[in-house]
């Protein structure tokens, strides 16, 4: 059987639905030792800001039941160094590169996008409005419907490439945010970023993370992520990239059934950096066995 694993995110076609999530693969070099990037759907860079960011002081991560908390604080090399030092490596691969952008002001989002869009290796933008570990300019954009609308609109004017808005799960109704993104020109949304969480050391009574709170990721959040994907899928007509706790091909299928066009693999990369490649193979096996000719037919195939 001829299996078609390709999926579409707006005008962008991916050879399969497996993307690597922002912040969990750096700029691609380390993970390329374990997984053939050319076999993946896309890779998303660590969130980039206009200027380099040092990130939060240590301790930045801690394990929790079936999950982990991180408060990296968007440590990144900045747009300029990225273009000069990271793009040459990424150019060597035939895999769509999605640039994730994080900023403290709307102007910074626009400026980053405008600068990066000239680089042809970059095929799309993912706009991180939802990082729970940075609060600058007094705004937590991800929880503010107007901010999301405005950022989407402004970034839309700054590039012709597909725009993906990465949504925060820490809101009452995520679908309203997806709707605002769509109405302001986004091509897709990704869901979800991490949940706000914390943990304390019971001896020192201090938070385990220097930043006090962090973002919860990993299998623990999977049921929440799938519910958010389903909520968006039922209420808004926009491609969804499902993220949260994916550990194997079965989780990928579950996310697709719930409404995802593609998925991103995050925390799993830390545990098994060869997993993304394996999952692509497993998906092919599944489609063969279940006679699924086009994997994209699984998207939102739920029976409620």
């Amino acid at each position: 059987m001829n299996i078609d694993l390709s999926v579409k995110i707006g005008s962008l076609t991916l050879r399969n639905p497996i993307m690597l999530a922002s912040g969990t693969v750096g700029y691609g070099n380390e993970i390329s030792e374990f997984t053939d990037l050319n076999k993946l759907g896309a890779i998303v860079t660590k969130s980039l800001s206009l200027k380099p960011r040092k990130g939060n002081p240590p301790q930045r991560i801690t394990e929790t039941p079936a999950g982990m908390l991180n408060a990296i604080g968007l440590a990144n090399v900045g747009v300029e160094v990225f273009l000069k030092e990271k793009i040459p490596f990424l150019k060597k691969f035939d895999v769509p590169l999605v640039c994730n952008i994080a900023a403290s002001t709307i102007e910074e989002y626009v400026e980053c996008t405008r600068t990066l869009t000239r680089e042809e290796t970059i095929k799309a933008f993912e706009i991180n409005i939802s990082c729970p570990n940075v609060r600058e300019g007094g705004l937590i954009f991800g929880n503010d419907l107007n901010a999301v609308a405005k950022i989407t609109d402004k970034v839309r004017s700054a590039t012709d490439k597909p725009i993906i808005i990465k949504l925060s799960p820490n809101v009452s109704y995520i679908a309203t945010f997806a709707k605002a993104a769509k109405e302001n020109g986004a091509d897709a949304v990704s869901a979800i970023n991490t949940l706000v969480g914390t943990a304390f050391n019971i001896i020192t009574r201090k938070p385990k993370l220097q930043n006090v709170t962090g973002g919860l990721s990993g299998p623990a959040i999977k049921p929440v992520a799938i519910a958010k994907v389903l909520e968006i899928s039922r209420e808004v007509d926009i491609p969804i990239i499902g993220i949260g706790g994916i550990m194997d091909w079965k989780d990928v299928i579950e996310f697709m059934i719930a409404g995802s066009s593609a998925v991103q693999i995050g925390t799993l990369n830390f545990i098994d950096p060869s997993a993304p490649g394996k999952i692509v193979k497993d998906l092919e096996g599944y489609c063969e066995k279940m006679s699924v000719e086009k994997i994209s037919s699984l998207t939102a195939s739920y029976i409620l």
Partner: protein, 253 residues
């Protein structure tokens, strides 16, 4: 870097509560250097979720040895891995000790499980440099001298060797140390490393230290293992990639 399923050949409780895990992993054992580490997946299940980092304790042909005590769930699982089972290890990771240089005597300074990297270190340097080992612990049960050479011991409660901490023991031996061309190689708990740092700066001793911190990936993609650099203010260093061995002067401990 390799990810492989290494057969467990033996788990030995070498001392009360100290375990030595022997696995077969030629790809890694043939290239790993003293001070490098492995990131071990202790379970296929979602809990414990993350790998656990361990220094290479010793190497013998195709065999790798890890040394640990039971700290929590991960090390508890490891201590009970049956012979013949396999564990998923990722490595070699990080930069090991810089063994070269213009010194005659390698001075090992370790506290508690900080002794873990030094059997392999000692094996590698034997015949090339003189070795002096200063090993400390809270009480005699915490002093690990397995496969070390020329050991001087310190315990805080005085139950074995010098009564006091290992840096005080160094102070006591300052004449000896000054009389030789030494380089210090250290690993241990943070308070020990802090005291050692002052000691080294005061006495102008060159010192490499293997640091520890919480890690997710172990190979540079999560940015979780940041450590403050003395020289570079604009960014943190990564313990897993830039370390775990640093010159003690270069990092904030």
């Amino acid at each position: 870097m390799f990810i492989l399923n290494a057969p467990v050949e033996e788990t030995i409780e070498i001392d009360n509560r100290i375990y030595l895990l022997k696995v077969n992993a030629l790809e890694i054992s043939s290239i790993i250097k003293p001070g490098q580490f492995l990131n071990v997946r202790v379970s296929e299940r979602v809990s414990p979720l993350l790998r656990r980092p361990f220094s290479v304790c010793d190497v013998d042909g195709e065999h790798l040895y890890l040394m640990f005590n039971i700290m929590g769930e991960g090390t508890n699982i490891l201590a009970h891995k049956p012979k013949g089972s396999e564990i998923d290890i990722l490595g070699p990771l990080g930069n090991g000790f810089n063994l070269g240089g213009d010194y005659k005597t390698a001075v090992i300074v370790a506290g508690g499980l900080g002794a873990a990297p030094f059997p392999y270190f000692t094996r590698t340097l034997t015949g090339k440099k003189d070795i002096l080992s200063f090993i400390g612990g809270r009480s005699k049960d915490d002093v690990i001298t397995y496969n070390l050479k020329n050991v001087k011991e310190a315990t805080e409660d005085g139950s074995r060797g010098f009564k006091g901490n290992v840096v005080q023991l160094l102070e006591k031996n300052i004449e000896l140390l000054k009389s030789k061309k030494i380089k210090i190689f250290a690993c241990g708990p943070t308070p020990m490393l802090r005291a050692l740092k002052s000691f080294c700066i005061k006495n102008e001793f060159d010192c490499e230290v293997s640091t520890e911190c919480a890690m997710a990936c172990g190979f540079g993609i999560c940015q979780g293992c940041s450590i403050e650099s003395i020289t570079e203010q604009e960014k943190y260093l990564l313990v897993c990639k830039d370390g775990p061995v640093f010159n003690i002067k270069d990092v904030v401990i």
